[in-house]
Amino acid sequence: MAAVATSEASFVSTGPTGLWSWITTVDHKRIGLLYGMSAFFFFAVGGLEAMLVRFQLASADGTVLSADAYNQLFTMHGLTMVFLVVMPLAAAFTNYFLPIMLGARDVAFPRLNAFSYWVFFFGGIFLYSSFVLGGGADGGWFGYAPLSIEIVEVVRMDFWALGLQFLGVASIAASANFIATIFTMRAPGMTLMRMPVFVWMSLITAFLLIFSLPIIGVGLFQVFFDRNFGTLFYEAAAGGDPLLWQHLFWLFGHPEVYVLILPAMGIVSEILPTFSRKPLFGYAFVVFAGAAIAFQGFGVWSHHMFTSGMGPLAEAGFAVSTMLIAVPTGIKIFNWIGTTWGGVLRLKTPMLFALGFIAMFIIGGLSGVTHAIVPADTQQHDSYYVVAHFHYVLFGGAIFGFVAGVYYWFPKWTGRMLSELLGKWHFWSMLIGFNLAFGPMHILGLNGMPRRTYRYPEGLGWEFWNGMATLGTVLIAISFLVFTWNLIRSLRHGEPSGPDPWDGRTLEWSIPSPPPVHNFDEVPIVQHLDDFWHRKYAEDEEGRPVRLQPVAGGASTVITGPPDDSEVDEHRESIHMPSPSYYPVAASFGLVVASYGLVYQPVGFIAVAIGGVIAMWAFFGWATEPSQREPYYV
């Protein structure tokens, strides 16, 4: 009995090990880590691409890159950072923490979750494989028609069209999964308005993806068919309308902007209360402002097209809607500042990055509002001012937020703390490097420097600020080397963190670090917003938190511990965890084989058939295999 219990316990805490167990895993935590590690890898690749671009532009008449190489690198940099870094990073955090924050043991559909990851993974490989099969995509991440359909002999934009389609499928599957999880699998007492803000933002993001991705899906099919099957969607000479592509792309593309930023906003909304030792100021306002951003986000897309000649009525309408969307965003910023106001601030690394997020996001938000003014936008259009703007919201916003999340939750993933000293070096070098890299681009843009051109002549007065920007990029690279070193070092040698190192507020801090496979020994019953905090603290008359009981062993005494021998069996619930499955990875493999075939048709139709059969076999195997392994006890 004892022997069985021990072997079971070790299995429960760590799960099986080995490569195959990771490939067939359906555990939301492992899938989250896989997303995170893949995104980190792609971040390094996308960062190197950005460095090459910056070295080329460091001085006038740069000679580092040819025009062709430059086009590939800036396109792949954008695609990588949007689809292979920020979106999967959000998926990493959501996968790992959404079920735990809801008090659930996994997502609604664990195998579908694994499928999403593998489709994303193969999609990334697919997109990058074009570098060895004729060059990387070179038409910009937005792939404006007719540019994207013109050169059909080279397969670059075929890989772009199908690769994005692939990543879209992954996101739609993941979003449906998250929405079903949030709506139907919350722990008892976890009402919608008791959900952590991060979960709310994940929910809103999932809806944005569900409704926006199919639109670009259609556009990408049209481009692919134009290139390969002779359709005339974007062939202007034959009556096709390239402007349709811009509408379809930005009808996806602008909601996508909020897809990129809302999860980071959710993370920051978790970190600020924890390190201010105050509840989030105006919880409901933050939640509903997020929902308002999502709704309004579908009504502003044409501000990307003010120079396309839509006419004064459309321009005025989209100018107003664009200004209006700043309102819910502003509400959030006021609420974050209100959260820190009068709080007992602890300036640990996660908090520094969260505060950095607010400051940088305000700058990016303000330059964004200037795009709403049509005459000004006409001047800024396609200039480095735009590049400065969206890097302030995507790097200064999303990446700062995600890095804050890594420092905040690393102890939960590994049971060890990241080094505070290295963390502070990382923060300051990244903050300074970031502003040095992207701040000058405002000036360059207003001085007329166009984006997406691979070199500029001498004598336009752009050399100095371009040099500074490149210097900033180097500093950013150094800051991420510090970060990587911190991650590697702390994985082995970091201080043990215990379950609740930050005196946290949400349910993930109530379970051990790293969490056991089944997350909760006993499903929690939720009574409050910030439930875990209320289990630890009461309030005195003046509203100051008072510890309920001295806790010796961290949080574990608050939660029901492992039952002792006297209450074996009767009171323990059996735990049903999903069983590992190789069908999700097989199905995604079949799909990627079919996609390669589509690029190289007509011969490739053989591969399409083979891939289709593999996928079909996997889907039916998936539908008929039992979804869970034998129940066990803790």
Binding site: N177, M185, I215, F225, L232, F233, I525, S627
Partner: protein, 206 residues
């Protein structure tokens, strides 16, 4: 309470708790509804494209010249009838009348197959009359829209046949894999989209 939740969460349909069955079905249906919401935007974008290009016919045939409304009405009727048989399959399945459920599933798949056969016939006719994918933006958007709808019907037929095979070995149940309720939702959605396509693409253009 907690135990019931665990069962719900992991979809344990084999437990003793009668209520759990319903709840996991609910989770799966929620996901299907979300997916169908996504599909609305997919077909919305395709239909918008068609509306933009409906009169961009270049030298090729126009809608009035080419559409055969009586024929397409007949195939539309067949597809709509398949929704009826789908409902009957669902109903029989709920009464645990597997024999009838199997018959109605097969009937639904057959009607879907007939619709597809009609579409292939129609496409062949149109190509003979000079409308190809590459004839005009009208042709491109017509074939891509109706083709994607046909692909959805085909996937539905494959799922129906899959359910039929599973039901023969007694593997069809409410809680795992394919089930009548989810496939039914999908099938009805595909039919509803066809009503919109038939109205907007065929009836309003002639």
């Amino acid at each position: 309470m907690a135990e019931a939740v665990v069962h719900d969460v992991l979809g344990d349909g084999h437990g003793e708790h009668g209520a759990d069955h319903h709840d996991m079905t609910y989770t799966r249906k929620a996901a299907m509804w979300v997916f169908l919401g996504s599909e609305c935007m997919f077909f919305g974008a395709l239909i918008s494209t068609f509306l933009l290009y409906r009169s961009e016919t270049r030298d090729g045939p126009t809608a009035t010249e080419i559409f055969d409304i009586p024929f397409t009405s007949a195939s539309s009727f067949i597809l709509l009838m398949s929704s009826l048989t789908m409902v009957l399959a669902h109903h029989a399945f709920h009464r645990h009348d597997m024999r009838r459920a199997r018959i109605w599933i097969l009937a639904t798949a057959t009607l879907g197959g007939l619709f597809l056969a009609g579409q292939i016939f129609e496409f062949t006719e149109f190509v003979h009359e000079g409308l190809k994918l590459s004839t005009s933006p009208f042709g491109s958007s017509f074939y891509v829209l109706t083709g994607f709808h046909g692909a959805h019907v085909a996937i539905g037929v494959i799922m129906l046949l899959g359910m039929f095979v599973l039901s023969l070995s007694g593997k069809l149940n409410h809680h795992e894999g394919l089930n009548v309720e989810l496939v039914g939702l999908y099938w009805h959605f595909v039919d509803i989209v066809w009503i919109v396509i038939f109205t907007v693409v065929y009836l309003l253009q002639v």
